[in-house]
Symmetry: C2
Subunit: 339 residues, 2 copies
DNA sequence: CTTGGCAGTCGGAGCGGCTGAGTGCCAATC
DNA sequence: GATTGGCACTCAGCCGCTCCGACTGCCAAG
């Protein structure tokens, strides 16, 4: 009994359904793929596959479509890697290399991913807790106002305006700047609070309140906020998937864009190269039951800085999407490391 | 002959058609509006309006729909201002007040506008040529690498990494920083090139190349690039407008997002409060012939810093859209001024 | 100028029959 | 035992039909 052939049939069904979005029947299958057997045989195989829950028939006289379980098997065992074309590789390289700063890298990346996959792409800004302080700069703007610029080793730059209770002079600024930098330069963000806790006490009583404001502002920038920034692109691709699909997915994306939802959608940032595919009902959110998410960590060495990925209908082109997501992730990682 | 009534009929037709998206007939009109005349009279009026090109009948036995010319008249003379609800005002205020930096202001603004109008919103980053330098900061990162942070009075912060040919020391950095700032602080961006032209010559021969690199980087940030940044939100709203509409408008938006297209779509930034409505065929782009654009300048005092606006189908709710666009523009202007 | 009446138009909804793709089962064959 | 061709059966979707009703334009009367 050729168990192999049944898998080949499943693969063919998935591929055809993804391509045509229409239920695929036994005859069409043998026509389009070299299975070497007759439609009748394929029908028998399909009956077994249906029995086992990998495919289903929308109604009696129609072909079969893959179930979530079918896609799962396909992704895990059947999907052959689809290498990107040379043109695509070049596009990724040239498009991302032109980026001038982190914001630009993020925006270009997410847009690129949306274009490559024709789906909705998401990217999470590099996590702060995992990155380190490269420098803290204080720029006096008036006698009671300064701008704090915090530069992370990922290239992420945070700015914060702050107002002090009392006027300060140039000397005060350089002193605080020096103290601050010697305390936090090179430190991981997570360690910063401990390092600056004692800082105000090394200043004379009179200027402590101002120092405290500065420290507080720094902490505010450093502490991981629940609303990690997320960029989103390609929502217009939703139109291709039909109104029903849009209706169910849109609220989720809007919530995401609002940063209200934590990113368990993309999953926890683990190691780069660990790509996760979540199919249909496997998603925790009810309204994503017709949706698959392909996500991967990026940046960092051993453990990823953050996640990026793609959201699309369960009947997506998994090999292509996976290839794109992986390639983009690698490239962004390289760029951030160089930056 | 009550010319007034004919206009009232036109207004009613526009309002009903916008509300229902279906051709409106004479009977429905008198039912839904207090016109004080019979359907027959309205029919006569409609015949005249059609004669004059303000409305058209898609086919014999259907009602009328407004033409572009009809919308134009409506917008210019008939649209009564629709004040925003208190809730909407509060939403705008609280949503925008929470923004932490310029990027955040831009993102929140465009998202807000998309939500208020249920259409596709666009915003252009504040133009650099019109804004002034608040401060230039140089942050040494290694012996041959520094980060330049350029702060504009609009709150826009540009960062550029730069590598020098030869190593530099701390003293060199402070000197250049001081010279640079005394040359450009408070200057309009457009004037910066002239102010820094002579800068390298005031340094000893040996360090001039490094100064030149720094100056070049500064100029790069200051010179208006053709790819002015644009943010776009609410493309998912396109699904509501139907597939045909999407097909025609989508390419334009994609081009926009790619920053390939100059912003003649939003029009030249003029003075704030000068709101422009471009209806259907009035648009220069062929593919926008079923599209209207409502745009306005924002920020700045006498002349606007940049444009923001909304793109939607010609049968949009003009009074509501205009009110939202105007309100958001005012609010962003205020925030940028405070920032 | 306004109005009610009336004939005429025509898009779209509703209905029913037909078609063809697709299935499951079975008996014959390799 | 696996494979195949044949056959009866099912049913979604298309096509064409009719019918309905929402309109309009015109006209004669108020």
């Amino acid at each position: 009994m050729t168990d192999d052939r049944r898998l080949a049939v499943l693969r063919a069904i998935v591929e055809d359904f993804v391509a045509t979005r229409e239920p695929v029947g036994s005859k069409a299958l043998v026509d389009r793929h070299q299975l070497g057997v007759s439609p009748a045989t394929v029908r028998n195989d399909m009956a077994v596959l249906e029995e086992e829950g990998y495919i289903a028939a929308p109604h009696t006289s129609a072909g079969r479509i893959p179930t979530d379980k079918g896609y799962r098997l396909f992704v895990d065992r059947l999907a052959s890697v689809k290498p990107l074309s040379a043109a695509e590789r070049r596009a990724i390289a040239s498009f991302l290399d032109d980026a001038v700063d982190l914001d630009d890298v993020m925006q270009r990346t997410v847009r690129l991913l949306a274009q490559l996959t024709h789906q909705v792409a998401l990217i999470q800004y590099p996590s702060l807790t995992r990155s380190a302080v490269r420098h803290v700069e204080l720029v006096p703007l008036s006698s009671t106002r300064m701008l704090m610029v915090l530069i992370a080793d990922t290239g992420r730059v945070e700015q914060r305006m702050l107002d002090t209770a009392t006027a300060f002079d140039e000397q005060f600024v350089s002193e605080v700047r020096a103290h601050l930098n010697s305390a936090v330069d090179g430190q991981r963000f997570a360690d910063v609070p401990a390092r600056v806790a004692e800082l105000p006490s090394s200043f004379p009583e009179s200027s402590r309140p101002n120092v405290a404001v500065i420290v507080a502002t720094l902490l505010e920038s450093v502490i991981e906020r629940p609303d990690e920034r997320i960029l989103l692109s390609g929502t217009a691709n939703l139109t291709k998937f039909g109104a029903d699909f849009t209706r169910s997915v849109l609220p989720v994306l809007e919530a995401l864009e609002e940063h209200v939802v934590l990113l368990n959608l993309l999953g926890q940032a683990t190691s780069p190269d660990t790509l996760t595919v979540t199919i249909g009902h496997e998603n925790s959110l009810e309204s994503l039951s017709a949706t698959s998410v392909v996500s991967i960590g990026y940046g960092g060495g051993g453990d990823a800085l953050a996640q990026l990925g793609v959201v699309g209908p369960t009947h997506m082109d998994y090999p292509g999407t996976i290839a794109s997501v992986r390639a983009v992730s690698r490239y962004v990682g390289r760029i951030l490391a160089d930056g």
